[in-house]
């Protein structure tokens, strides 16, 4: 991740800001500017997701990229938000604790940092609800 990209994504990463098509009630995360069903008839509005959902599938990372090496082992999962969209996120729990279908809720955590003198990336992770 680089600083400009992270900066652009702050609303989504901090507050789960996505969009909703008012025409067909479809929710999008990350946000879409055009509804893929309604196309031109779609009415897209900003929407803040509640932050609760369930684990669709998960994996445990033991061999991580350099910036995450101190975090191992950690759980990565696809979380289905209650409004429908699915996203990849870290689940903050012991790897033995995570189960498919487990209810989770969002928390604000450190996602990573660019070494000791770079920026710190914050955002959303999930914990067992």
């Amino acid at each position: 991740m680089n600083v400009p990209r992270f900066c652009r994504e702050i609303p989504s990463r901090y507050n789960l800001i996505g969009t909703k098509c008012e025409n067909c009630d479809t929710y999008y995360f990350p946000p879409r500017r055009v509804c893929i069903t309604c196309r031109r008839k779609g009415v897209i509005r900003e929407y803040q997701f509640e932050g609760s959902g369930k684990v669709v599938t998960h994996t445990t990372i033991y061999s991580a990229p350099e910036n995450f090496s101190k975090m191992t082992p950690y759980v990565l999962a696809i979380v289905e938000l209650d409004e429908g969209p699915k996203l990849t996120a870290q689940i903050v729990c012991d790897p033995s604790e995570v189960k498919i279908g487990m209810r989770v809720k969002s928390v604000f955590r450190k996602l990573g940092e660019e070494g000791p003198d770079g920026v710190i990336y914050y955002g959303t992770k999930f914990i067992p609800a």
């Binding site: 928390v107 604000f108 955590r109 450190k110 710190i120």
Partner: protein, 346 residues
């Protein structure tokens, strides 16, 4: 129209380390430590938690408790001695994470353990002067104690957020008073990982001088006596100091008990007295009067008197209480604790 606290929120990480475990590593007698400090365990942040994440969780809890939205907040001041950046505010991260940006005042405060109450005074002034409708004051820390230093037994993590306003006041702020001198009891130089403390300056010339003078100053200013209050909260670097200061001032141990969270929490620095106050607000009833004095090394103290209103019952159970946040901890051994606290340099 009265001004006071309209809502509050607390965050305490789930992890703890017991005094026995730290004493085991350094060859100390845990019973001596527990008896000497009056602390049994302390909170430890997760590997991905720091002052900013703790401040955000406390701020979100405060909003959840009240139903206020981030956009209602006109100022955010975050007090801490462990801001993640030396230059770049924690307050901007909190503001963005509760959707209070961009029309607001924001800054970070630093005054050892009393930066959070200094933020509370700033919000009080801004609301009183009608510059803002609601101001948020946060005290949060992931306190550092050098390995084998006495501070390691108590330096903990946690934070509390308070919103000050004029409507839906749950605890009126009746008055405030501060006492400040230039004292060398505790410091951390720029770029240093761990603080140092000035030995004999820590007790009498630091904590006791400033807390006693600050508390007496406010009692005199408000023409009050200790028995006029239902609860008293003092900064709690350990379990002994607040008890001793309370009895010296004439407060009973019963008045101090509810606000004394240090035994299981440790010293959450800027969060310390503010989490103690939250523990009192969790159970306070309309009409209760609360006395609070914080302390920050360097050194100074901020004293407040609060009167709890009828509104308190509407929000007490709308967010996790301090007792709930202290329950069901996960205990760490020293090695994992050292990893959590970045004490192992790779």
């Amino acid at each position: 129209m009265s001004i006071g606290i309209t809502t509050y929120g607390v965050y305490i990480p789930r992890y703890r380390i017991r005094v026995e475990e730290i004493a085991r590593v350094w060859g100390d007698d845990p019973n001596d430590i527990k008896k000497g400090l009056g602390v049994f365990e302390k909170s430890v942040p997760d590997r991905d938690e720091d002052t900013a994440t703790i401040a955000v969780e406390a701020a979100r809890s405060a909003l959840q408790r009240s139903g206020l939205a981030g956009v209602d907040i006109g100022a955010i001041y975050v007090g801490s001695e462990s801001h993640p950046y030396a230059v770049k505010p924690t307050a901007t991260i909190v503001a963005e994470a509760i959707r209070a940006t961009p029309e607001l005042m924001a800054a970070d405060y630093e005054f050892a353990c009393k930066a959070g109450t200094a933020a509370l005074q700033t919000c009080l002034g801004l609301v009183a002067a009608d510059y803002i409708k609601y101001g948020m004051a946060i005290g949060a820390d992931t306190a550092q104690g050098a390995p084998a230093d006495a501070l390691e037994y108590t330096a903990a993590a946690g934070g509390a957020a308070y919103v000050v306003g004029k409507s839906h006041v749950i605890a009126e702020i009746e008055d405030t008073y501060s006492f400040t001198t230039d004292t060398f009891d505790f410091w951390r130089r720029q770029g240093q990982q761990y603080p140092k403390h000035g030995g004999r300056f820590t007790g009498e010339p630091g904590y006791f001088k400033h807390v006693l003078a600050g508390a007496r100053g406010l009692l005199h200013k408000t023409r009050s006596k200790p028995e006029d209050f239902d609860f008293a909260v003092f900064h709690q670097p350990n379990g002994k100091f607040p008890r001793k200061v309370a009895s010296t001032l004439g407060f009973s141990q019963q008045q101090v008990k509810q606000g004394l969270v240090v035994e299981k929490l440790g010293n959450a620095y800027s969060g310390s007295s503010l989490i103690g106050l939250a523990s009192v607000l969790d159970v306070a009833e309309p009409g209760s009067r609360i006395f609070m004095t914080s302390f920050g090394s360097g050194a100074g103290s901020d004293s407040f008197t609060f009167r709890v209103t009828e509104e308190i019952g509407k929000i007490q159970d709308k967010a996790p209480s301090v007792a709930e946040l202290l329950a069901a901890p996960i205990y760490l051994d020293y090695a994992i604790y050292a990893k959590h606290k970045n004490k192992i340099v790779l």
